[in-house]
């Protein structure tokens, strides 16, 4: 078990800068997740931790040991590769057993461990098959098994559940969480699945354009996105963004597409300087409720699309020429093209500075 420390790490491929100045500490025993758009360098970060990619500059420590020049096998990490990377000439059994074989573990122990991991992952009856005889999801579980059979200093998992069906994914998610509680091994995780990131991680780092945009607990990142990018990236479907302007400073009033957000909710008005110009008001779809009757809502909108999501509906509306995604009760009688009313929850808005993109409210 180890704490992983990045100190001013820079990674370039030839002249293309992938990671610019990464400084971060992943605590001992923490479940830490990197999220970010495709190609932002998540896999590269894992490869750097594993020692598969050298850094262009900067230092990496495991606890107090500088590991920059340590080979992967001296770092004692286990990794689930995004592309699985199974050994095609070995059976499922041998694939999972391989790390233990390399450690010269006794055959009896290996056998027990492989059986245990295989049943955990539901691979019990395909141990003798070769990888090419497996489905994508089964291969992915073998890849997971090959990592989980070890008790390394660090687990690195690159989208380890991406190819599983919805149910299996949730099952495996729970298994991973249980396993992490049991073993308390530092885990660095990469996923595209918001829900997975939220439910598993103790902390999340959002990477974009080579930098950490925000690092915090899932709740922090969700409720207080550091900037417009994080706001739009975390949460699915993404947050609505509406242009706003400061109408007056004393008392503070913000105009948001025709409605005025009152001052009461802003605890620190000085943050909003009128001369700085534009604001961006962010509001999550799940916080806006559409209904067909007037008394419940204040703002008149037209419905452009209704997407049932099971227990509720996603509803796209047009509100004074801007599009917005909202929610509605499953039973409600909303039709495309009809008018409806939304309740715009002032206390749920997140206000960003348009120029810098930084969050102004809540603080």
């Amino acid at each position: 078990m180890a704490e992983i420390k990045f100190e001013n790490v820079i990674k370039r491929f030839r002249d293309v800068s992938i990671i610019e100045d990464l400084t971060i500490v992943i605590n001992d025993g923490e479940f830490f997740t990197f999220v970010g758009p495709s190609g932002c360098g998540k896999s590269t970060i894992l490869n750097i931790i594993a020692g598969l990619e050298p850094v262009t500059d900067g230092k990496i420590y495991f606890d107090d040991t500088l590991v920059n020049d340590l080979s992967p096998r001296d770092r004692d990490v286990a990794m689930v590769f995004q592309s699985y990377a199974l050994y095609p000439h070995m059976s499922v059994y041998e694939n999972i057993a391989f790390p233990l074989r390399m450690k010269k573990v006794q055959q009896k122990t290996i056998d027990e461990e492989v059986k245990r991991i295989a049943s955990l992952l539901g691979l019990g009856d395909m141990l003798q098959r070769k990888p090419k005889e497996l489905s994508g999801g089964q291969r992915q579980r073998v890849a997971l098994g090959r990592a989980l059979i070890r008790k390394p200093e660090v687990f690195l998992m690159d989208e380890p559940l991406s190819n599983l069906d919805a149910r299996l994914r949730i099952e495996m998610r729970a298994e991973l969480k249980k396993l992490h509680h049991e073993l308390k091994i530092t885990t660095v995780y990469v996923t595209h699945d918001q829900a997975e990131a939220m439910s598993l991680s103790e902390r999340i780092a959002v990477i974009y354009q080579g930098r950490i945009q925000q690092c915090g607990t899932p709740l922090e990142v969700y409720t207080k996105p550091a900037n417009i990018f994080v706001g739009g990236f975390i949460g699915s479907p993404p947050m609505n963004f509406i242009k706003g302007t400061v109408k007056s400073l004393e008392p503070l009033q913000i105009d948001c597409n025709g409605i005025t957000l009152s001052t009461i909710i802003f605890s620190r008005p000085p943050l909003l300087k009128g001369d700085e110009g534009g604001l961006i008001i962010g509001i999550r779809p799940e916080d806006i409720v559409v209904s067909e009757r007037k008394p419940e809502g204040k703002v008149k909108v037209f419905i452009s699309l209704v997407e049932p999501a099971g227990s509720f509906n996603w509803v796209d509306v047009i509100w004074n020429d801007i599009e917005m995604k909202c929610t509605a009760r499953a039973g409600s009688d909303l039709r495309e093209g009809k008018e409806a009313f939304v309740d715009f929850p002032e206390d749920k808005v997140i206000v960003f500075d348009e120029k810098s993109g930084k969050r102004l409210f809540p603080d």
Binding site: N47, L52, P54, S71, F81, S83, A85, Y87, P88, R139
Partner: protein, 271 residues
């Protein structure tokens, strides 16, 4: 229907064209002496084995075959060992100027043998290796290595990097990765290379002619070339000997051909 017939006709034609010389040799080797020079050539009606018998009875042909077998096998093994290790490094390890190294290696094979034979002869003589197996093994290995390295590098490159990475993560040393992962996954490449190198060494003539002088190390092509006496050319024996020494190659190719199946890495990575 016509398309299919045409296709098979074409295949037959190509096959006949390729195997023509061999068939000719077989036909010749079975003819009695008096039919050998008949024009137009005929397919004999009284096949005989006298030429085969005389090749082995009147000449040290077994010893010659042994020479060739030892030289070709040793060359193949050496070339594969050195070649696959270099290829592994060039394909998977972090080395600077890989492209230049590979280009340089390949350029070595571009020297025409005739240009290097005299300096090599001097070296071999000074080393006291004239007329030994070793002289040929060393020379053949240097000449076959570029090809081996080139083929094997390409085979190793085909193996996804992630598999190499996974093995490193799982605690393999580079050498363990080499023999536990890389070799089993590039068996087709190994066999392809082995066959090519073996055939090259089996058939090589110029160096063999220059470096050998007696039966103790003379190889098949040279020996056969020296069959003709002052007054006569023993066509029958030459043909019989050629047929005999071609058989191992055919057996070799057919035996290994089964191993040369593609798709060994399927299932390793996504997609």
């Amino acid at each position: 229907m016509i398309k299919k017939t045409g296709f098979y006709l074409l295949v037959m034609l190509v096959l006949l064209y390729c195997s023509g010389p061999l068939l000719w040799q077989i036909a010749t080797s079975l003819k009695p002496d008096y039919e050998l020079t008949v024009i137009p050539p005929v397919i004999t009606e009284n096949p005989t084995t006298v030429h085969y018998i005389s090749v082995f009875k009147e000449r040290p042909f077994l010893r010659i075959i042994l020479n060739s077998a030892v030289v070709a096998s040793c060359t193949t093994v050496l070339s594969l060992i050195i070649g696959s290790l270099s290829a592994f490094a060039l394909a998977k390890m972090r080395i600077r100027y890989k492209v230049f190294i590979l280009g340089f290696v390949l350029s070595v094979s571009m020297f025409p043998p005739i240009a290097t034979v005299s300096p090599l002869y001097i070296i071999i003589r000074e080393l006291g290796l004239r007329d030994t197996w070793l002289a040929l093994i060393i020379t053949y290995t240097t000449f076959s290595l570029p090809l081996s390295i080139w083929i094997l590098t390409n085979f190793f490159k085909e193996i996804p990097d992630e598999i190499y990475y996974a093995a490193r993560i799982d605690g393999c040393s580079p050498f363990q990765i080499f023999y536990k992962i890389m070799l089993p996954l590039s068996i087709p490449g190994i066999f392809t290379t082995a066959i090519l190198v073996f055939i090259f060494s089996w058939n090589e003539f110029l160096f063999a002619l220059t470096f050998t002088s007696t039966t103790s190390s003379r190889t098949i092509p040279v020996a056969i070339a020296l069959f003709p006496g002052v007054h006569e050319v023993p066509w029958g024996e030459i043909a019989a000997a050629s047929v005999v020494v071609t058989i191992p190659l055919i057996v070799l190719v057919f035996a290994f051909q089964k191993r040369i199946v593609e798709g060994l890495t399927s299932g390793a990575v996504k997609g």
